[in-house]
Symmetry: D2
Subunit: 489 residues, 4 copies
């Protein structure tokens, strides 16, 4: 994902500064004396899923403790600032978030906490509801009051409203009313629930501690990289439509309702998940290498080096280079000091913004034919700068290869995308885009090629299990005029 953000905006996250913003990351643990330390580390490991705020709700005895703030895990939950440290907390759920503009108010930080007839509940949510506006209006008309504009508060109200005897049943009652993509953690005084929506659009995995302290204690997280960092063993993915209850009774599994076709977000594999995470039986980095190799087979070209756009294009470029038998060269390096707000010299000194972020190995590109590999082109505003800088360092030819099909449709299921007007591929054909970015050639992987790289015979076959609406426009969950209200949470 190339760098679009302007120079003076501090980039909270070194790795992610592109046009597509991540959604959110979750972590939860039940009954472990190191609950706060482990949750902090788990959130740190899924930091790439959301960099604008972090929070943990801890449970000690019957009491909830809350610590949430805008910022990175390393700031918000540092040893000095984390108010939950040394409180004897033994269970916790945590959340890192990306927020849409305007929603950065502290009221929108998660996990969301509210008292209900079921006692206090903490809710952490990754995804996006598609009928939250309707539900919200209905609740307001009934005399309720909302203190945030987040989907998560809608979920909490829906749970509180239920007349069910148990919290598990209340959650099921609530989720029946809710449409959209969600992976959820819900903590009460007695349990943690880990839930994926019936289509399974967002990831959520189960693990157990493998330490010398309390091996076997259960953990839930958005990705397996959060299990690795704390030394937990990966058990399995939560299934679409599954609700797992973790309590003193151990692990119980329930289903939300009638099963629906699986529609896991294919872009999680292309860009969002950590390369070392495992989901659906596949290691993300390996998937990306296969996509790169398939991309090469579809659009091979003669060149001197395959160069990834850092850091998003690395694994696809490795796969491309091996398939093409062309040397892989990391000739463009991100500065480790991006995001600083220096005074900039006058405009006449051109392209400084990109130069500050990217360091090019002049000897490695001068007079060379370069294949640049990246994961996607969204707005199309950064790639021209990268092509230009590579040319300015002397490249003879610059060919651009993209490891996803053209990105033509906004996401309403938890990824913050520009509107369709700002999606360059929704408004221009490939040749026009090529000219805009100034490349000698440009190719995207085909949608069938993408599916083949994932092990399927192609897209148009029975048993398809991914959401690819951003490429195809086929939205698996009805939107009901939701286009204007889509937001990540």
């Amino acid at each position: 994902m190339p760098c679009d953000s302007s120079f003076s905006i501090p980039s909270a996250s070194p790795t992610r500064y592109g046009s597509l913003h991540d959604e959110c990351g979750l972590f939860g643990i039940w009954q472990h004396p190191e609950a706060i330390a482990l949750t902090t580390l788990g959130l740190h490991a899924v930091q790439h899923r959301g960099q604008e705020g972090a929070g943990i709700v801890g449970l000690k005895g019957r009491a909830f403790y809350v610590h949430r703030a805008p910022g990175l895990v390393g700031d918000v939950l540092s040893a000095e600032r984390n108010t939950l440290v040394d409180k004897g907390i033994t269970s916790a759920i945590g959340h890192v978030r990306y927020s849409t503009a305007g929603g950065k108010d502290v009221q929108n930080l998660q996990p969301f906490v509210g008292e209900t007839r079921y006692g206090p509940l903490a809710v952490a949510h990754n995804g996006n509801l598609t009928n939250s506006a309707q539900l919200r209006k209905m609740f307001l008309d009934k005399g309720r009051t909302f203190q945030s504009d987040s989907d998560t508060e809608v979920i909490l109200h829906a749970i509180a409203l239920s007349n069910a005897d148990t919290l598990a049943d209340a959650i099921r009652d609530a989720l029946v009313k809710i449409r959209g993509a969600y992976s959820l953690l819900v903590m009460s005084r007695d349990e943690v629930f880990a839930i994926r929506d019936p289509h399974g659009m967002r990831p959520l995995v189960l693990g157990e501690m493998d330490d010398n302290l309390l091996a076997g204690r259960l953990v839930a997280a958005s990705e397996t990289c959060a299990l690795d960092i704390i030394g937990a063993r990966y058990l399995r993915d939560i299934k679409p439509g599954e609700m797992v209850r973790i309590s003193h009774d151990g692990l119980q599994t329930m289903t939300l309702g009638p099963s629906k076709p699986e529609r896991f977000c294919i872009f999680e594999y292309i860009y969002f998940m950590h390369p070392h995470s495992v989901f659906g039986g596949r290691t993300v980095a390996a998937v990306r290498e296969q996509i790169g190799a398939m991309l090469c087979r579809e659009s091979a070209i003669s060149a001197d080096a395959v160069v990834p756009v850092p850091d998003s294009g690395v694994h696809a470029a490795v796969g491309y280079a091996q398939a093409a038998q062309i040397p892989f060269k990391q000739s463009i390096v991100r500065s480790h000091y991006v995001g600083r707000t220096f005074i900039e010299p006058a405009d006449k000194i051109r392209h400084l913004g990109v130069k500050l972020k990217l360091s090019v190995n002049r000897a490695a590109v001068k007079d060379k034919r370069i294949i640049l590999v990246d994961d996607s082109i969204v707005r199309g505003t950064t790639m021209p700068k990268i092509v230009d800088i590579v040319r300015r360092f002397g490249a003879r030819e610059v060919h651009v290869r993209i490891s996803s099909p053209p990105f033509m449709n906004p996401c309403f299921y938890g990824i913050d995308t520009p509107s369709r007007d700002d999606l360059v591929a929704a408004n221009h054909d490939v040749e026009t885009i090529r000219k805009k970015i100034g490349a000698d050639s440009l190719a995207f992987i085909s949608i069938d090629g993408l599916y083949r790289a994932l092990g399927a015979p192609g897209r148009d076959v029975a048993g398809r299990s991914y959401c690819d609406a951003c490429f195809t426009g086929e939205y698996p969950i009805s939107l009901a005029g939701e286009e204007n209200t889509a937001k990540a949470s």
Copy 2:
């Protein structure tokens, strides 16, 4: 009010560091282009009413903007940090708060904001409800969810629940259900309401701008000192049980229900209000001087100087000194640098904590008979240190005079007081307290003397208009087992 807080706890407010914590301060303004600047200054002027958090909710067109944070007005709302600056906001309400332990979570900051069927509302509250626990339980049982433990959220739920056609009626519906002490500001997209409870326990005044910009624009504030700072003219006090609506239609006044006997908090005059504020037709400083004079008449003693305990005893000491014809001497001065966390020398260097906070003029106390005047003795832990330090600087005699009756009962109407077990006067007679504090003599003003200083013939007369429960135990609003849940908001 003497200094009880331990040395290493930074005192947010230089003036107030005693055992009794203030409640809250309010400010609101309707339709003025400088709404945010004026609200900030107004809150700064009532900073003595609450130093733990500050917040403003602004209205621009139909949109609400919120800025709230823990800390002093000067930090939270400084020009650099105040996110409401330069937004074109034209109406606003603001709040400074003192919070009880455990309630410092940002969720409890005010003004409270929630969306309701009447649109978004902002609520700022000074006081304490006595039936909020019951209301809260009732609402929870009906499937509602609470995100804070503040009374103010209960008020908001009660308003949202109403079926009334207008917000004014909805507020009236809500307040019928509510018992306790409150001064309230409520802002909607169309108006600001300024409300005092039927007993009128907490202050709230009306003013109008007197500037060259937009003279006549209406302002509401806890005290007149907030009007002075912005150059507003003081119009009048809001009456007990009155609800004033400020809107494009100007000022409308309504009543909450059947009138009840006025019971304004007498301790507001003794300690809480700013000395320069005017309420009930009296300037606070003058009231305190009268109390000091009456105290002298009741318990005169021969001495060389009348010395106030800084800063709470100053005005009573002035009145005492004039009545006694004994020189008034400010021989004890507070350090302007209190609240710093230095390393302290070893315990063997005694009483350093108090020495750091108080600087004594040795020449003015050595071999002298000193009358120390303070406003109250609550826990009785600080006065012994002050008496001791005055003796260590050479005083021959130390007589303590207190400008309130013995403080024997906790407050349930908005002042954060220790429990009865920790109120020294609830558990000891005057002679025992004298010994504990090490004074040569000790006297409190009598309850009748206090009323006489306020212009009444004495307490036990018809038409009494104050709440004096802290001295007498006669609580004007029934408590219904509320003792354990009392808290300020």
Copy 3:
């Protein structure tokens, strides 16, 4: 001293924000296990002498440790930031400073430290040299290099240059070359020297610890308020031209050279010293009361109240009120929250700056005849605002009384004063100044009256022991064209 600084400039010190800036404050202690804690507290007590920077140099064994930074003692030397804590340091000297513009670079922070043939030395200086430019040029021509523009570095070079066998002799050699006002602390690995210049222009006192830990350990400080705070007993003032050596051998006293007439800065009594400090056998607060009484005798007028300009006029006002038999009223109070940078409303809301800093008791001034007492008028820019605000609150008459003679000449001995062009009394007669400030009457104490208040028969008598150049223009130490280079250190 009235408030001249503009609203948006954070005032580091609540008490001192006038036209005359303090010089510096010193503290030193030899061989006490709490050396760092005690030095921090001692500096905190003399914080009023300099608020722009603070520093301590500690000695442990043979090693020097340095901690200096811009800011207040409470920030720079707070328990969290003070890097000297827990190092086992047993001797230390410290410094608080006021710096002239441009000299705020960290290089100018004190104590100054340099290695010399006598080992490392730390030097802390209060005063101003009058021949430092000549000495500096001479040293540069000899191939030396200077790393700051402070007088203190010149002193260090002069010491290092000496060929004397002992450091004591080297310091004497150096000070022979130096002209000007200075109180100095010099620490080597073996001793601390406490020195006053031959005229004794700046204060410096000796004390000894009176604690249960190590009673009798010697302490030097600018003022006795620093002894009070740490529980040290005041022994005596350092004499003009005296050099006291504190070491393992106890206390030794030496003289700098032939004695000169004492010329202690008379303005130290009027404004700079802490009211509770004792110097020259007098308590500062009592001196100020005597000056106020004398001022009353010279310029009595009928009025309803004597009101001090806070905080600088308090003691003189007390003395004036008692002599005049007019009630003393603190009807103007400084805000405890000055120095905050709020957004200000439009200019059309007048005089807000002063209103923010000063709160006036309307009832106490309305329709009253007020005598305002302050210590001095320097630029004459603040007093008009105070007179105006008092009138706007309804005063019938405003009479201004100043407890010093007209301030007509800049100081070259350690006080940062405006140039003569900016001294209102150097350019206007009393009647003109009265009109400028808008008072009904204005009077300054006479120079003879000032001396009488200090116990002398008048100024023009043998044995005068004060520098009063700021009032009389008689500079006791020749200036040699120094006017342009005068600066505080």
Copy 4:
């Protein structure tokens, strides 16, 4: 360079956290209106050479302005904090530094500034003198005073002492007395000097601006990556023993004295310089690839993947992999969030420190034979952890290959190295080290191999132009008992 620093120590620099600490980085520019912006960016580009402090001295007209502080360029010189912004400064020199323990006092920050008979001078130094202690003692004995313990102050004193007519001659006089490694920038009011010591041990290059603003203006920097970032054209290296003067007269070149054999630090190529920098006609990344290829030729072994230790082993690993025809895999990734101070779980959860810093792709190492490539083994404390973590993720075999010979001798020429006792290769043979790190095999490149990778026939030939004392113990500049005083500056 593997990670040795403990978990709780915030790593200022994401890239460099190993046992060998960099020296310093320099940047200077003469007469360009964007001098401050360009110097800031240039320092940002050489941030890898020193992360503990940064500073700039600017010249405007005849006045020097100084801004220096501990911390990274992005903090110290950010737009908000950089006090030199908008001052109209047109020439500047800057410095980033690594400091040895104890020398972090602000007094040691560079550029060093002192006034001399030649006016004010600013000096920025990269290297280490070997006779500074002797010079310092000699200067002290002559009555001089030192305010820091840095070599740079010694250089400044030596310049100030000269009687030469011009500053150029004074610098030459001074450098005749000085032994050791240095690249220097010296700025006066009239010029900037760029100087390398006679052996040319540290890098320094010349460039000229290539912008639309003022093309042709001269720039000096430690490395060419600083030229790239500001769009300057690389002209040439400064030669050993060359002194370049940049002034209104353009560029003048002089020599320091009789020429000596070139001894450029060979470790600059192995580790210190930025991979994209060009020095001595070679791109650093390409040199490292050649070293990796040569290492492969010397110690080939059968394996499934070549994996670099991030980030120091990347280029050598690429070269190794290509020579070995084994896939290059970046299966170990550094966390982008290192340096945070979280609470750590109990010790029983093992090796967390390394896990937090390194993320391993489980699928890519499980059951595989891995060749780990790194640039050096210094203390030997980190490599065991990396080998262990790779094994814990399931590697079948772990072979370690090091792209430098065994590091056996401390550096006295500007690199901060552990003492010989802590250099694992100085005390153990390769087989012992292999056991300590737990590898299946271990190999270092030979010293001859290293020279051959650099294009020489081998080490033992005439014309050798590198210092390789850290590997061979042959120190090109005599040390005179300097071992104990070696430090970076």
